[in-house]
Each structure stands twice: as C-alpha cells, then as structure tokens.
Symmetry: C2
C-alpha cells in the first residue's frame, strides 16, 4: 500500500511482545495496549505511544492487530465498554492473530463485516523463537485484497503466509496445526517417561531422533533441554494449549467427529493445569507422568 | 573382523527383504529363511542359499539375523523343534532386529548367554524407505565387542548405530521411538479429519508443516500421499504398531507408569485392526476417524 498502516497492537505476552517489537524494528508506526500495563514500558521507552484503553488505541490506528489469550480477552478488548469497536470506523482493519475458537471468529467476522471493518483471521504457527526471529507461518483467512495491503506487515512477522480461505478458515487450520503440536509434545513426554521407567537414558531418544532424518525436526530439538532437565520455562504456555485442545474437541463434536487421541491429550493437559502448571511450557505434562514414580511430593 | 561373517537371515517381510538385499549387495554371504517360502525366490535367483528350516539355516551360518513380526514368530524360529537353537553352537551370534517385547528379549538374552551364543539386541528406527536405502538407525544393545565385530554388517544396513546398553535396552529404546512415531501418525490423522470436518483442505496442513522449519519432518512428508489420497499401502503395517503399543503399555504398567495418550493410541489402532486394516500402513487410522462422516459403508 502507498500509505503505510498505522498499527495498534493489543496483547504483549510472549508472542505479542516479540511480534510488536518486530513491527517497530521494521519501521512501522506502532501504538500498543496491554491489560497489564507494566509490559508496555519497554515500548514506551523506544517511542511507541501507549494507549490507556483499547478504545484509545483504536483512535491512534487504522489497523488493529490482536494477540490475546482467549475469546473472553478478545471480547473484552473489542466489544467491551472501552473496546476497539466503540471507536473503530468503517474501512479500518482488524487482524486477529490469537488462537480463538472458530465459532467466536466467525461471529466476530460477521460483526466486522456489518460495521464495514475489514476482518483478517490470521493466527500463526510457531512459538517463541519463531515470533522473535520473525519466522512465523501465518495462517491467513479473509479478503485477499485486504491481506495484500498488509503484506509488508505480514512479511515483518513471518516467513510464509498460507492462505486458508474466508474466516474462520485461518483459525480452523490453526487448530489442526496445534493438534499436531500437542501430540508431538505428549509423544515426546510419554517416550521420556517410558525410557526412564525402563532404566534407559531419555537422552538416547533425542540422539535417535537426530540420527533419523525422518524424525529430526526442530520442534523436538526445541523441547530437548526442557525434557532432559525437567525444567519447563514457557515457549508455549500449557494453559493456551489446553484452551486450544478444548476448541479442537468442540469443533470436532459439532460435526460428530471423535478425536480419541486429542481427547486423551486434553485430559492430560487438564491434569497438568490442575497441578498448577498452566504457565509452564506445555512439555511440563512430563511431570504429571513421572511424578508418582519419583515421589517428588 | 578378519573373517567375514556367514549370515543367515530370517524374516523377509517389508523390512527384512530390503535389509537382506542390502547385505547381499554389500558382498556378504547371505543365506535366507522365510516362513512363506515364495518370498525367498528372488534371493535364490541371485545365488543365495535358501534354507528349508531355521535349523538348516543355522548350520549354514555363524551369525543369524532375525527380522520377524512378533515374539511368537521369534520363539518359533529360535526355540521351535526346527529352530535355530537346535543347531547353533557356542561362539555363534544371534542378532535380533525385530521389535520384540523387552521381557521376551531379556529372557532370550539370558538363554543365549547360558548357551555361549552372543546375543545382540538391535531393533531399528526407520521404515520401508530407510530399510531400502540402508539408512536405518540401529538401536544397539549387547556386548560392544560383539557389535564391533559386526560393524561392517551394521554399516550396510544403517546410517547410525545408537548404543543403548545391555539387552533389552535396544528394545526398550525402540519402544520409546515407536511411541513417538505412533503419536506423529495419530496427530496427522486427527488433524486431517478435523480439517475435513471444518471444511478446509487437508493439503493446507502439509503446506503449513513444510513452511515451518520446526515442524518440517520427513515422516510427515512420507505420509502425505497416503493421508490425502486415503490410500494406505504399508510402509509400516498397522498390526506391527498395535503389537508395539501393547508392549509399551505393558512395559509402563510394570513400573506403575500410566501413558494415557499411548493408551488412546492403542485403542484407536485396535479399532482399526478390527476394521480389517492390520496390513495397511498405520496411517490408515484416518479411515476410522472419518468413515462415519463419509458414510462409506
């Protein structure tokens, strides 16, 4: 586009912080809003405007990007009394990059359409490292013309854009990808627990994965230290994957589709969440497998 | 070793056939035995001796390699009335490369030890393509000296040898690796089913996997055509993975370890087996997820 977008960015968690920072680095005019104001300070320090409310942010921007934790948070920042919707004008663009439910996304897309707001359904595949290095894969839904106008923004955030179709196709595809990521994680955690139970070193699993080109994938390497050290600083907080697993099961149930393995994954994530591990990396499920063995408590 | 081993190879299924052929190509003297004699014909054609019984094979060889489907088949070829044990002498080597249970492997290792036979516990990571190209990863258990003597043989079969420890460590590690492979497969199948249920093309999943370096792994590419075409020629027959999943759960239960996701995977594999899909590639589990939707029957 000839006139660069004035971006309002909402949600400065692990992912959003890195993404907003990449937009600033790429030279975009970025204003920010975050519920916990402390997280906006580093943006104020580099000259970004910090809005006191989503409504105030909407007045500073023509394009609002959201990266929040769930539909409730999204509803609050968009449709709440101080929400974006109360100040947003026709012709503006709302690009959601959070993982919401397909149902909520479809409803939001409809409201935007009626208000003349361009809605883009653009969740991302990739976690902390990819967000930080601008190497996310963007699963894009919405009007192609609106996406094309924002292509410099997408380029600053990701390495590839996969066009999924009209909303909620981006979100639907995102749930499929996270379903795979969840089973990569439980597979690794259960394998490590089984190795330990059998008296062999879990390191051998990673050695074998690396030696086999068919199984050598970056996701496993990224979880290696967490699994081996049993220390789970969050790249992808467990509570987010629990939320997503529930969305997967709900979307499947709506079509009378049973996902028996994902159901077991969701139960394990829930058990781990109830153990107080919601803010840990989702690979922390290992702790719920091995703890009884180790008599840690 | 200065004197090359005279190899007797038992079990010419998808994996064994490719492995025995690679040993012939590498110049080893290879005799073969297979329960279904038809599969030995191509070996006879290229000058290999074909034994009528495992016992006859053992007389032609100092090193017997087994690649059979389960402990029952192994017991038959080793300890049956016409088994290898009835003709094997002290100093000979038995290298099992099948995936057996850790318990059976430990018992067999003990019997070999008492008979003065070197027992090597060497299952492999990798399926049809890796077996054919000699790129397997060998998960090796047993005495290092005995393994070293056979290193030219291992080199002809695989790209790497991971030393796991005394038997049944190779088998124990193999179960951990297949646990991961099973969840990679169910993850892919459930994601494809969820995509279809949500009205998005399963192709998009593969496009996203390829675009994301953290998720781009050869295993997914190898299953792509099967999943998209819903046609499942076997690289890894489902019945073998069902057997392995039962071994995983048994090994875990012995140590009071629960593997809730693997338990769900085993149930799905069993359902698929009961649908008559035992000889199909394990990715055929997709059919058990989507069939009710498509009203195929």
């Amino acid at each position: 586009m000839s006139i660069p977008p004035r971006i309002g960015f909402i949600g400065l968690g692990i992912m959003g912080r890195a993404m907003a920072m990449n937009l600033v680095k790429a030279g975009f005019q970025v204003s920010v809003y975050n519920r916990t104001r402390r997280r906006t300070m580093e943006f104020a320090d580099i000259g970004c405007e910090v809005a006191a409310t989503p409504r105030a942010l909407a007045k500073m921007a023509d394009t609002v990007i959201t990266m929040v934790s769930d539909p409730a948070a999204m509803e609050d920042v968009i449709e709440g009394p101080e929400g974006v919707a109360s100040a947003f004008a026709g012709g503006n663009t709302l690009m959601n990059m959070s993982t919401l439910s397909p149902d909520y996304t479809a409803a939001l897309a409809k409201k935007c359409f009626l208000a003349g707001v361009n809605f883009l359904d653009c969740p991302v595949s990739g976690s902390r490292a990819a967000a930080e290095s601008g190497q996310l894969v963007i699963l894009a839904g919405g009007e192609k013309a609106a996406l094309d106008r924002l292509s410099p923004v997408l380029k600053a955030l990701g390495r590839a854009v996969i066009y999924a179709g009209p909303p909620p196709a981006g979100t639907a595809l995102k749930l499929c990808m996270n379903l795979i990521v969840a089973q990569l994680t439980t597979g690794l955690a259960e394998a490590a627990a089984l190795a330990q139970a059998q008296g062999i070193a879990p390191e051998l699993i990673f050695e074998t994965l690396s030696a086999n080109p068919a199984l050598d994938c970056g996701y496993f390497s990224a979880k290696k230290d967490k699994i081996l050290r049993k220390d789970f600083p969050p790249d992808f907080p467990l509570r987010h994957m629990l939320k997503d697993a529930r969305f997967m099961l709900a979307a499947a149930a709506k079509k009378k589709l049973a996902l028996p393995v994902t159901a077991a994954v969701a139960s394990l994530l829930e058990k781990s969440y109830n153990s107080g591990y919601g803010e840990k990396d989702l690979s922390v499920v290992l702790s719920n497998l091995t703890e009884p063995l180790e008599l840690k408590r």
